[in-house]
Symmetry: D3
Subunit: 291 residues, 6 copies
């Protein structure tokens, strides 16, 4: 019995969070280990379902997983990378899209449905959701690697009204009708902005943002974030993630979170507890809200 009493007390501890986020949209970029490890997959999917049931509106944007590389390998395709981005030729893009939309997306949708949620998968093609344009780095075309030109969220809004959980593959469509592979963090950020989400959460395979002494920064404002980039504290793959967060906040998202997807129930821990597990970023102007 004692166990049950503890359980019920715990339920009550989450009430303030439920109340705070009731009816609000939270966009989650899902990727990395959390998409590979079976236990983490289940814990992520359960977090999403729970959030939906208690009245929040989670929207999932997923990245590519190791399956893309595997499939390209099986097909004997090799890729060149520029600045960490795959230079995607038309044939490669076909494979990327097939794996993202036809395999990874459907696996996530299937898992959510299997555990009791109601998900619908979307690519940026569906309902004209993601308009893309060619990505150029230092003037060089990345082939079919693109960036977000515009978001038309009407298909997501319809699904939310019907109580479905949207799961989105980061593929956009250009004016030429061709599809482009877009960085999933960027897609998540732009969709969060267009849906006026209160939170953008990026699942990563690191603990969060670290300071010079390699300690986790649990919260920081925009100014501090810019400082970390400037003074070189943040480097490598962290920089585009920070820029993505800065951009989302500039476009009206309330808070962004870079969290450790290798921790079970990372999303719920970040959203429903005081401690949080990663790094939260917030606007300058306001005094920092108590987390």
């Amino acid at each position: 019995m004692q166990r049950y009493i503890e359980k019920v007390k715990t339920l009550h501890e989450s009430l303030p969070y439920i109340r705070k986020f009731y009816g609000k949209t939270i966009v989650i970029k899902y990727g990395g280990n959390a998409m590979v490890d079976e236990e983490l997959k289940k814990s992520f999917v359960m977090d999403v379902i729970l959030m939906k049931y208690v009245g929040l509106n989670p929207v999932i944007v997923h990245g590519g997983g190791p399956q893309i590389g595997e499939m390209l390998k099986k097909l004997g395709k090799k890729s060149r990378f520029v600045g960490g981005i795959r230079v995607t030729d038309k044939d490669t893009m076909d494979v990327v899209e097939m794996v993202l939309v036809g395999k990874i997306n459907k696996e996530i949708v299937g898992l959510i449905n299997h555990y009791g949620g109601r998900a619908v998968g979307l690519s940026g093609m569906d309902g004209g959701l993601i308009k893309a344009r060619k990505l150029k780095i230092k003037g060089e075309s990345m082939g079919m690697a693109g960036e977000v030109a515009d978001i038309n969220p009407s298909v997501i809004e319809g699904l939310e009204r019907d109580k479905f959980i949207p799961v989105i593959a980061p593929v956009g469509v250009g004016d030429d009708g061709r599809t482009y592979n877009i960085n999933a963090d960027m897609v998540a950020g732009e969709i969060a902005a267009s849906l006026k989400a209160i939170k953008l959460i990026l699942l990563t395979d690191i603990k969060g943002v670290l300071d010079k002494k390699k300690r986790l920064i649990s919260a920081m404002n925009v100014t501090k974030t810019r400082g970390l980039i400037k003074d070189g504290t943040a480097s490598g793959g962290m920089i585009p993630k920070l820029k993505c967060c800065l951009d989302a906040i500039k476009k009206g998202v309330l808070k962004t979170h870079i969290i450790d997807g290798r921790v079970e129930h990372a999303v719920l821990l970040e959203v429903f507890t005081d401690a949080g597990i990663g790094t939260e970023m917030y606007k300058d102007v306001r005094k920092k809200e108590k987390r």
Copy 2:
């Protein structure tokens, strides 16, 4: 951190219950110690608010508390009892109604609002909610003690649509326009039936229904319940409660629960855990559902 992980796991354990009862109405008779002890009051109110937030529709029917007796005493009024029911003269009824509607009801409404819910108090007068008729026991009139003649739930339905928690005082109005004091269990049962609730929960000051060896019966069907009454295992104040439950089930309520209001979070323990804490009654025909 470990504590938080436990917490989140606990949240997930309640998901099956949230899903099962999503959008359903649960009528709770609130009375006894749970209305007196400060800790129990808060724990009850928090349970109700939590249920509302995660998508259930709790409806509270409260009984009278010691305040009625106190007030009658202060006013020097004495009451005669027949079969456990106060023979209520017109003057006494005035005091009863004032305390029920003007004090106890408002205290509950106030507590719910104070802890973050949105409650509206109702007496049976409001919107013609409870039609009453004179109660007669063995042909003797009980004065202004009445029984339910009819329920018009439209005012409750309006409040539920607007996301308020209805809190109901067990006072009905007769064809003569006069008010009658009605047993709160009976009112809860009739309201549960008229709202097609899935659960009727009676908070009591005992552990639940006991068998001949004084062990708690955690679940029983209608036939077994009738047996307990017939063979004298159930006696005293338990008999009207059992009859009230039998009647509610007959009128379409899915399950009824007699639980121990002296346990903190009794309502949530009964609704959101496998163990439950009291006695559940269910229809004969169906195989017993797994709790």
Copy 3:
């Protein structure tokens, strides 16, 4: 037959008023003799029901009646008054609230329902309707006597949409969760402002506002009203009523009326005839509308 023809002609005379006020909200402070005399009670209730049926939205705010004093007397409680306001200790407030909410409010609701309307009683607690703060007079606390801090009219709006007549007891709730007794005229004025009512009607036990020669003033603007207060023509209990009306007009109520509740059908006479029976107050800027 002639009688019937007269009757039908009379009906037609009220058409212009019905048209003018169709779908509009009228807040009526109900108090004084009209709440005591049986004939006047019935005539008031019938006026309210008729207005509702022909398409207006009456909202009733009632004061306390002699029942509060009686009950305090029965309980041997004595009250101190400062500036006409009862210094209300916690015990007294309990009695005041019980009588206001549990007795007077329910009597009015009961009468309206009995004569064919559909009323729902509310205290300021219900749905967070009236937020109160402590009233201080010359720095002295009046105990549980409060004033309106804020109105949240959503519960009234829900009831109006469902075609109920709201009947409101002048009790507010403070940030501390405690209840405060508030002057009913003030409550009526603030509710009229928050509902953007076209009329605020105060029922009194006098003929209306009198000029220096003790003649009834049937209509006056804001400037004239201020003059009456300044030059001492208005005095005593009339001053807070006039201030209440001035405040309501400032907050957007179109017209306010101080009328004689001792006259049968006073409300309908004021609203549905050219003559009116009391004193109407209107904004300065506009030319006086023809009544």
Copy 4:
């Protein structure tokens, strides 16, 4: 002042009628003197507007007036009559339709609007409202005189939802696309049936239905009505009116009324007073309702 008090009392006397008919549809055949005399025209129009404002849904079907005869005369057209019905050739029908739809209908619409209502005129052509077929009497075609084949009330329902008063000219359209002149009583009866009206009122130029001793029958059931036809008490133009009423009641209209349109405010007198002024017909089965 006394006059005003009388007035208000009168208003209250009509409340039971307002309540009884609230939201219900009443179809009125408007014709005869009430369409000619200026005072009667205004009194009729005011009755209709008042009914609309207090929540009833009047629907007007008008007949032809002397204007048809005048116009035919001006044009030098002569008509043959069979069984009281004008044998209408194509040219005559053109004139009939023009006068009914382009003159009489618009006059009524104009009067209602002028006195503060909101009317829209319809012929049976509009929205396919009235399907007609050729009327044959003893096998002889009456030319363009028709009878109702079907009613499609959707255009009326749209106007009622938008709070307009529909005013209908008794012209129907055949399968051949040609227009037919139909008896207005018949049209009113069929429209009342298709709208499930609670009342059908036929304005006439007589006092109502008389018994053998020429005394007004103020109420009678279906059986008695059939008797009056059978035994010859009813004769001439009264017979089709009685048949029309019998038919409407058979098709579900609650009550029908044959009243004297020469009396000012005849409609309101019949609907809003106990006395009534004409003859009411009701179903057999039920005990006669108290008027």
Copy 5:
């Protein structure tokens, strides 16, 4: 089979137009030969029905036809004309209204319904659609000839929502409650403005607007139009039509068209093909859109 394939290809050619005008309102002034010739009548009516089915909202305003003159002649009435406008005395107006509303309007409604559409006829009287005022030319009253004072489009909007095609007779009602005959082009222009129509189409009996060399101008902007009036290229009856179009564009109508109603399917040819058949007028500021 080839024929069918051609047919289907043709269907596809109209898709861009369907898409462009989907859900938009187009007001068409219907008059002249197109109202007289049987083939043209049918072709016009079919065009309107087709537009309605593929998602456009056509609104028809018709003029008077030869029937007015015929009827006046039959009745021996003679009319005086000033500046091309009939000086309409009260008797003449009666005839004009009867023919417009009771004959011409109903014929159009009947034809639309006969060929499978769902039309409802309106005069400016219905629902207070067209408020008129006396027309004066050089200070001289034109009798009952009026001009538009105001449009209240609520009755049209209700009919559009219910998927009816509104057909409007150009008769307005003055403050005095009397009806006025108004030029149908003007009525069409004002209704187009009040409905925020994207197109106003005037059917005429000429090819369109001609330049100095008598060649058809297929498109021109506001400045060029003003020039044509100023330099005398446009003259006679064309001038009020051009002014009407200029006025409509000034009030927000996107484009206006003066087209040749003597061509079968003139309306559809203008709306659904690149070529168009008459003269289109558009705003100055914008670059000319490709037709």
Copy 6:
């Protein structure tokens, strides 16, 4: 100009079809050559967009194309066939799903959007659309080849309400959470039944159903169809198609069509012309409707 007049006449010829199918759902199985040839692809997509714009609700179910075989070949996978059905092992199913959902489905969605429609792609996974079960032929499991167990059309209904065109890949999900490849004809038939479609159209690479003398049968009822199967006239791949049609008709689809997808605009030719181009099947009981 003549060309335009022809065009407009053609438009009018399609009106009766537009009217007949307005607001109705038509399910089209898209496959074969029409999915391969660039011209045919465009003509199909344009047909679908046009139907949507003129008020019909097309729903597309596509089959697999040569891309599946190509991809399997590239990956060095070989398949065994039983009764024409690929025995699909888990690895093969992964490839099948990726190509169907991630490539073919998105190509169709992309084409529709490119040419001006608004499509959303779905697999049977999305929103729990298609529940599958293992397909067994003569007791032998076909691996991941499945058949439809149940359809949950709520996600389609939401998309139709929001005016999107649903494009569905024939992949279902089993109770085990695994995906199954299902014959697209069967999926189309079941979806047509669950949506109460009026038409099911199967695009094939043959002319339609042929009689013994190899002449095209343009229409036949259920009895005749059964005869063709029994007497061997129909054989091979035609038999499952006929059975699929018979089943759809039994479940309430009004008509089914087997048409030649190699003809440009085959769908529109079948739906919008008298001739049709393939074989239509209809219920026995009714007299054959005139096509």
